[in-house]
Symmetry: C2
Subunit: 381 residues, 2 copies
């Protein structure tokens, strides 16, 4: 096991009716900015519950944080924080709303522009405290420090790290009305988050392996129930908890990670606007196949413990494991080939060009170069 430092102070408040606890958790001596995405929280009743809980608090509303939150939008909220003396931020919505709020909270306490924080972490000078009510289980943002921020003007999209949310409220009933495609992408995103922390060298931490496999097994088991009936409280609660536990550091203690699939997926989103979770399920089987020798031991373990594949040669087991993984993604109703989405040769060439020019090396051992990326993408056409 590698040495590690783990800490995650976020207070997780989980269950039906918990949005009312905002009245207890929010500070009464600070002016609060409540941030929202589009209007879905008005349609599903979340907004009404929040307003009810916030009676008697001093707060403002900021609307319009979009999926893949744009720094151009977030700057407006930063101005409001500074002008209005905001002391606490509450994000209400999906992971993007919270991601954007993480940047607003940090940008509100410095003089530099918000995008500076993304490009140059040294500018970070602390943060306003922030919390969330999360309605779309996928990103894990509710219990981690990360955010992904886009800049329309420069065509860039990068990760940013703030501190952890003070608290996050997760009420599974808020997911009942989510569009099924978003749910499918959320399940896929959760699955691939775990894979990126798991599909590395074997034997580093048997316990972390078991916990990663535990999230994968749970997602695989609950996915058909979720797909069948989005009003199944227990199924949605299990999906929601799995999404949070998939990316809050709990399965990452003392183990290496490998985010190659995400890095390649981000480029597809950047070029084609494809939903994040959808890109991941296209890319992952290709990465597994290209890394089949280096990762053979872990792929075999994954196949055995998650898909029950216990027979055949190593190569046969790896083939069947990759096929089972792709089959699971297809069972979610997602495409697993670029061509299904009309993504062609030109996009592949542009992505390969970008990785070649940047000299980016991906993966656990930083040995996934542009040539391997090209082979991954060509087999996913």
């Amino acid at each position: 096991m590698n040495n590690f430092v783990f800490q995650n102070p976020t207070k997780l408040i989980f269950g039906e009716g918990q949005i009312a606890r905002l009245a207890k958790e929010l500070p009464r001596d600070k002016k609060i900015l409540v941030t929202f995405g589009g209007g879905s929280v008005k349609a599903n009743g979340v907004y009404d519950q929040v307003v009810e809980a916030l009676k008697g608090f001093d707060y403002l509303e900021f609307w319009g944080i979009e999926p893949n939150p744009k720094v151009e939008t977030l700057r407006k909220a930063v101005e409001i924080c500074k002008a209005e003396g905001i002391g606490f931020l509450l994000a209400v919505g999906g992971g993007s709303t919270l991601d954007g709020t993480k940047l607003i909270a940090a940008a509100a306490v410095i003089e530099q522009d918000a995008w500076e924080l993304v490009c140059n972490p040294k500018v970070y000078g602390g943060t306003l405290p922030f919390a969330s009510v999360i309605t779309l289980p996928a990103t894990g943002s509710e219990m981690n420090r990360g955010a992904v921020i886009s800049n329309v003007a420069t065509g860039e999209k990068y990760a940013f790290y703030n501190t952890f949310p003070t608290f996050s409220i997760l009420d599974p009933t808020t997911t009942f009305s989510l569009p099924p495609f978003q749910v499918a992408c959320g399940l896929a995103d959760t699955f691939v988050h775990v894979m990126e922390q798991y599909l590395t060298t074997t034997g580093i931490s048997p316990l972390m392996d078991r916990w990663a496999e535990g999230v994968l097994q749970t997602v695989v088991e609950v996915a058909p129930k979720v797909r069948e009936n989005q009003n199944d409280y227990d199924a949605m609660a299990t999906y929601m908890l799995s999404a949070t536990m998939g990316l809050n550091g709990f399965i990452a203690m003392g183990v290496p990670q490998d985010w190659a699939t995400h890095m390649i997926g981000h480029e597809i989103t950047a070029l084609c606007g494809t939903t994040h979770g959808q890109t991941l399920v296209i890319v992952l089987p290709g990465v597994m196949n290209e890394m089949r020798e280096q990762k053979s031991s872990k792929i075999v373990q994954f196949g055995e413990r998650v898909w029950g594949i216990t027979e055949g040669t190593t190569d046969e087991r790896i083939d069947r494991t990759i096929a089972a993984t792709e089959e699971f993604f297809r069972s979610l109703g997602l495409a697993t080939r670029l061509s299904e989405l009309g993504i062609g040769e030109d996009v592949v060439e542009e992505i390969v060009r970008r990785f070649r020019e940047r000299g980016t090396l991906l993966g656990e051992r930083a040995n996934v170069d542009y040539a391997i990326v090209e082979r991954v993408l060509r087999q996913r056409m």
Copy 2:
């Protein structure tokens, strides 16, 4: 899934050489009381590492916190805290040293006697911050709020809850020199902690089930390696991490618990001085057998996923699961029958008398009364 609130802010600092990080983590503007148990930390080099890291800090040492820490001892440390203006506590040793320190830290900031805190939680008035260097993996105290405190004068032993440790440092090399019996009891304690959070109603949280089973599977796999070679770093690290993850709330989100085995075990320790982990492995198979109808579904799941028992009638599977569990405890070199430790009829009668007089009802559904306790103990003779 049940509604829940989860929060665990402890910073976990894990790995070889991490004791040196004390110099970075401890406050320089506060007077520190460093608490110890007996002298084992002087023999294994931990004390020297702590003293080296504490160069330049303003600190005092307090020695002599015993296994099953006694309030009589802890009061002396409370007096020192008050007289010397101590502002931070660092426990160095096993779970008992830290348990005792949790009480010292809370008693140092109130006027009432320390035992008042144990008997009447309303007396709690905050705490001095505290942290730990843990050298015996077992109790999980390093990442939870709990402590168990004894009172020699009154013959009582109760749980006490403070806040979480600020940080805990776990260096697996500090466990290399532990007495093998302590290691066996630590493995057993970890296993039973998980069972008490797991062996309840099925289907409440599939993810928490998987994570609990993951700790159990890991402990079962690593135990022979630990028993064979206590200098195996990876094995000891896995055991150490499992002990912490077994009782820090990570496997307890939204699920019921059932601490009947611990409650019965505590009585054996109180009457006979038997080591805690040793009592648990005697009691657990009896509790499983007595609760075999109520818990049949979970026992079958446990048998299948942890012991690979997949065939036979439900009753046969339960029998084989209980037998496999007892066999595992015996493989640790522990006794699994009261008679092996010379504990006889008189002790059983006294324990049953106590439960009858107190009217205590144990278990997930509070339906384990003195009559069931008697049946449990008689079959473990």
